[in-house]
């Protein structure tokens, strides 16, 4: 196996909300707690979990949009954890992001051409003509017409906007793209188009993806490997097929079981998880899942399980894996 393109070691990140003397006091929201993972060139790593589990934070921290409180990020062999924004700038061309809500991530006051050209100009791609040619090439790549370049984002449909977001992300030929819920705001029939497009681009441009989603089915189809997150920690990571078909962590199992299957013939009794995830401002001690886990025992309440190898290419953080 080749060297990982991205390594995260023991990342932790805590957000502070409210003012110390303000109403409600100060809250420390632990969004990431000791998260480690490796991403290999050319693969798609899915990152899945319920809202508030820290998957978006992880995505943004990996790109140094947030500075981690602790831990290390190594991108293409360079430690970027403490790198200044200025020093990081050349590297940024190599790592890009696609956002969930394309209407929020595209400045509504700028034309599409201007938006896509922005990274090219910033990284001194070349003369005006060269940029123009690249813009047209990019539009073609993502399936849009060059005449769309002079329009404003709000003149496009959701799917088209996401294509624009992709065009901007691949403008500089990056090696890594972190896609944060790229399809969850889209309708099913459009979702498929975007997922397909991303797959095509991956093939053509030799991209590595971290694909963040809450929809297990999308991950299942889009990612070769998947990491399941719960309350700021990775509970299970491994090949998608292995994890989805034979989940080892009780949370993964419950999550999969909860997904309604679009097959009326397969109506079945599901194991329905009770309760809702605790607040990340006040996570439970020990195994974070123990409050809802059907198999929880005394040990789970006190001792935090580490991510340990479990079978081939799989790691699980559970004292009593399935």
């Amino acid at each position: 196996m080749t060297a990982p393109i991205l390594i995260a070691e023991n990342l932790s990140k805590t957000f502070h909300a409210g003012r110390r003397f303000g109403p409600g006091g100060r809250q420390n929201i632990q969004a990431l707690s000791n998260v480690s993972l490796k991403v290999y060139p050319g693969e798609t790593l899915g990152l899945v979990g319920e809202s508030g589990c820290g998957k978006s934070t992880l995505g943004r921290t990996l790109l140094k949009l947030y500075t981690p409180d602790a831990g290390k990020i190594i991108f293409q062999g360079q430690d970027i954890t403490r790198m200044s924004e200025r020093a990081l700038r050349p590297l940024r061309a190599n790592m890009q992001m696609v956002f969930q809500d394309p209407s929020a991530s595209l400045n509504p006051r700028r034309r599409v051409g201007d938006l896509i050209a922005e990274p090219l100009r910033v990284h001194n791609y070349g003369a005006r003509e060269k940029i123009q040619a690249r813009l047209e090439e990019l539009m073609h790549l993502v399936g849009l017409a060059p005449e769309h370049l002079s329009r404003f984002p709000h003149e496009f449909s959701g799917g088209q906007r996401q294509r624009i977001g992709l065009a901007r992300a691949i403008a500089l030929n990056p090696s890594l793209i972190i896609a944060d819920e790229p399809v969850s705001a889209l309708d099913v029939s459009i979702q498929a188009q975007i997922v397909n497009l991303m797959a095509d681009l991956q093939e053509q441009l030799d991209l590595t993806y971290i694909f963040i989603a809450h929809d297990l089915a999308v991950i299942r189809q889009a990612a070769e490997r998947v990491a399941v997150m719960y309350l700021g920690v990775i509970v299970e990571i491994g090949d998608t097929d292995t994890v989805m078909l034979t989940p080892a962590h009780h949370y993964t199992a419950a999550l999969i079981s909860a997904v309604p299957e679009p097959n009326p013939a397969a109506r079945r009794a599901r194991t329905i998880l009770q309760g809702e995830p605790p607040s990340p401002a006040n996570p439970p001690p020990g195994c974070r899942f123990h409050t809802r886990c059907p198999a929880a025992q005394g040990r789970c309440k006190t001792e935090r399980p580490e991510l340990r190898p479990y079978g081939e290419n799989r790691e699980v953080a559970c004292h009593f894996p399935l």
């Binding site: 409210g18 003397f21 303000g22 109403p23 409600g24 006091g25 607040s279």
Partner: protein, 325 residues
């Protein structure tokens, strides 16, 4: 928790007051024609007399010392006296003016709240209609009138032009009559100032309320309320209005604070009401530093206090502000 919040507010207030007092002090000493010694001494006083006065009032001390002394007299011994009316204690004068301003602002506030809610709700309920548009135009006109001018015109009408008609013959001479002295006369003498002061705010509040109501009426919970089977009136009064009032209450707190803190200056001057605004106005006219200092401090305290009260009130009336979960 509340205690800590208050403590922080208090610290903020002290800082703000300190800065403002220094600012006022410096502005005063930068103003020509303001040498308090010259005015205390009187016209034609000889340089020797001037020097004696300057010494007697401590005006020959360095500025920081003078500042310190003034603050001591204002806050600690509370016996600061005027430069222009020697011997006049500043704090009792301000305290005496407060009831006048309170009478003015309180009465006006009652008027403006009643009218603003009535107009705002009517306009929102009839949104898009001719009535809505006319009401909103009137409200805009109300906001757009210079308040002192309105006061002048009101005086012209009620005191002179139409004073002898049935409509306004009851209007007493300008000035203030304490409530304790003659409640009826108190009321009569304040009706016109109340109205004049209220006009702007009726305009402002009714427009804000209408906008809030119209926006609130598009919210999901309004749909829920309708889906419950509530009538349109119940929907507006129980659900939309309740939410819109939260904004209005915070606006009201700040405006009330600013007005009581001296913001009603123009109307007090025009209607000859000896309130805090008038006191401030006279102090500035006289360049009477101790009075300026006291009224500005008072005003600032009121504004900061109003801010705090509004924050606290928010906790009370908007459960969302009490912190989630």
């Amino acid at each position: 928790m509340i205690f800590l919040v208050l403590l922080r507010r208090l610290a903020e207030m002290v800082f703000v007051l300190f800065s403002i007092s220094v600012l006022v002090f410096l502005i005063f000493f930068a103003t020509p024609g303001a040498d308090p010694a010259a005015r205390i001494a009187g016209r034609g006083a000889s340089p020797a007399t001037l020097a004696a006065v300057r010494h007697a009032f401590g005006l020959d001390q360095p500025l920081p010392v003078q500042y310190g002394l003034m603050m001591k007299h204002l806050f600690i011994t509370q016996d600061l006296t005027s430069f222009v009316n020697p011997g006049q204690l500043v704090i009792p004068a301000v305290l005496q003016a407060v009831p006048v301003t309170l009478s003015l602002v309180f009465g006006a506030a009652v008027i403006w709240l009643i009218f603003a809610v009535a107009i705002g709700v009517t306009a929102a309920a009839l949104r898009g209609s001719v009535i809505d548009r006319s009401l909103m135009f009137l409200a805009m006109a109300g906001v757009s009138m210079p308040v002192f001018w309105l006061g002048e015109v009101a005086n012209l009408i009620t005191q002179a032009r139409f004073h002898n008609t049935v409509l306004f013959s009851w209007v007493p001479a300008l000035g203030y009559v304490p409530l304790t002295q003659n409640p009826l006369l108190w009321f009569k003498s304040l009706v016109i100032p109340w109205t004049v002061l209220a006009v702007t705010y009726i305009g402002l509040y009714s427009r804000v309320l209408r906008a809030n109501l119209v926006e609130a009426l598009t919210e999901d919970y309004i749909r829920t309320a309708r889906a419950k089977g509530l009538s349109e009136r119940q929907v507006i009064f129980r659900h939309a209005l309740r939410m819109s009032l939260i904004t209005l209450v915070s606006m009201f707190g700040l405006d009330f604070g600013a007005l009581v803190g001296g913001g009603a200056l123009l109307i007090e001057v025009v209607c000859a009401l000896p309130g805090v605004g008038m006191l401030t106005y006279q102090a500035l006219q006289n360049l009477d530093l101790p009075f300026i200092m006291a009224t500005v401090m008072y005003g600032a305290i009121f504004i900061v206090a109003a801010n705090t009260v509004v924050d606290m009130l928010y906790l009370l009336i908007d459960p969302r502000a009490r912190g989630a979960r």
